[in-house]
Symmetry: C2
Amino acid sequence: MSRVYNFSAGPAVLPEEVLQEAADEMLDYRGCGMSVMEMSHRSKVFDDIIKDAEKDLRELMNIPDNYKVLFLQGGASQQFAAVPMNLMKNKKAGYIVTGQWAKKAYQEAQMYGEAIELASSADQTFSYIPDCSDLDIPDDLDYVYICENNTIYGTKYKKLPNTKGKTLVADVSSCFLSEPVDVTKYGVIYGGVQKNIGPAGVVIVIAREDLITDDVLPGTPTMLKWKTQADKDSLYNTPPCYGIYICGKVFEWLKKMGGLEEMQRRNIEKAKILYDFLDESKLFKGTVRKEDRSLMNVPFVTGDKDMDAKFVKEATEAGFVNLKGHRTVGGMRASIYNAMPKEGVEKLVAFMKKFEKENA
Amino acid sequence: MSRVYNFSAGPAVLPEEVLQEAADEMLDYRGCGMSVMEMSHRSKVFDDIIKDAEKDLRELMNIPDNYKVLFLQGGASQQFAAVPMNLMKNKKAGYIVTGQWAKKAYQEAQMYGEAIELASSADQTFSYIPDCSDLDIPDDLDYVYICENNTIYGTKYKKLPNTKGKTLVADVSSCFLSEPVDVTKYGVIYGGVQKNIGPAGVVIVIAREDLITDDVLPGTPTMLKWKTQADKDSLYNTPPCYGIYICGKVFEWLKKMGGLEEMQRRNIEKAKILYDFLDESKLFKGTVRKEDRSLMNVPFVTGDKDMDAKFVKEATEAGFVNLKGHRTVGGMRASIYNAMPKEGVEKLVAFMKKFEKENA
């Protein structure tokens, strides 16, 4: 077995010890005689798995008691509809469009009411986060929506928007658990787990209790109404059990590593290695305004498509995989989530230096 | 490691060799240097996994080219809304209510149009399948809906309803791939995979192409519109990759075992062992009308709640687990899906005989 350095934007690298434990427990989970894939979601043993996962997540993020944690399906894309269906009481919401996923959420909301673009960075290929300190926010807005870390473009809000008292809803898929969060600043935090937490097929919604009601838009499917699952502790129907089990293992791993403060320290350290090199390199350069750079997704280019392609090819051969950038940005992107070791980033930079010298 | 005989109604037993392969490939899938959980859903290696899974499923079920196969999320419960949202052009559909899941689907459809109960077996705790040879079917009905195998009650349609030319939609969650199917008799076949195919978190929808359109009910979330995923071969957004990978392994296993004809032969043989015993036992008896008995889910009772509880307790201690019946039926239920070996059923019956003798 030889593991590569996997810079995929998602699904993405997971901690090796989590995978090893999962492999060891595959046929017999802790003496119960079956795989986690085979156990009833109503069994005591699975109940412990999901309850422990929630408990550990609450501890990691310091989630207050008046917030519910839901383990759902359908990805962030499904929440693009669920958010307006659950929250658009006045049928009016504000969206800050900082990339493709924010834009998709914004477009989906237009089906359900008036969705207003409060700000956008489309004018410069989403390479920055707009100034959100004094937005024009109508009084009857149901919520303000952001995508907090933009996976494709490599930007992140360093300061949350001033919502002027309106509920903040954030898709945190690609920065989930990458640093400490003040949950009380949000009404709803949600994200697909397949970037920084676990396997694709689980989306976690953390919502303040007063926002979880039966007063949803007419026609909201039972499964998209947050209250359905909130009332049943995510067991209204069969949940994605195995994915939740892996998420739980990652939560345990994060606690063992020192929690989110320590992950933040490591992530800053890892990102600095890469960004510092990009700032000094004559061949490679970052594509994002410096103050808005993501700790998780680092896009960069050489400015020459053929050179980009050559780099991706040679990097892949050297065991640095999934470095090709998104087609809308081009070039390269290194996603360096929690589970990417510092060593992986150091070796990538060493490889980039070598490549630069060879191609000077 | 000691594996139990797991009679869970779902999530349920999987073939041991599938689990062993998954364990072996956990950290490095066939030399690619990463787990299937970690790979991009846009990668060549995952594309092969999902394409091969679809190909094998098409072969197993002999699915005609004019039917699409979709790998979705949200369970059957989410399809309870998706079915009317995609199909209710005339806002009128007929439901045959043969149990809790059919009833939930029927209730969900009432949000979107006129849902008519065409027949029901509620009068006898859903212990039989109503006569569906000459139903009163209005001309403007969009479809006729059934739950083909009723997991909780242990009944199965042995003959499909006469829909008088209307589109038949079937939830086959608990009989999926248990026997050959003539797909052309259905407009839509769908089911959660967590009973007979794979881990919870994947639902497979097999729909005739002319039923997959942009003409859906207003307000249908993008993710619930079948066309969204049909146009993108189930890769509109990140699919539940790991679950699909396990399903693919089960499809391969089924092919190796001899396909659905052979599974049917085995399933009939296994069920006969249990039903024959129930018919001769003085302590245990089946709860379902004989001609409607499911091959997959076998509910039975002693008629004495304390005796039932004693049986479940002693069976569990002997390694026959998850035999407790659903609360609405009481007693016991043995789910004997494809992956339950004949030996498991034989041993269960031997245990029941011993228990009967000891408690005569």
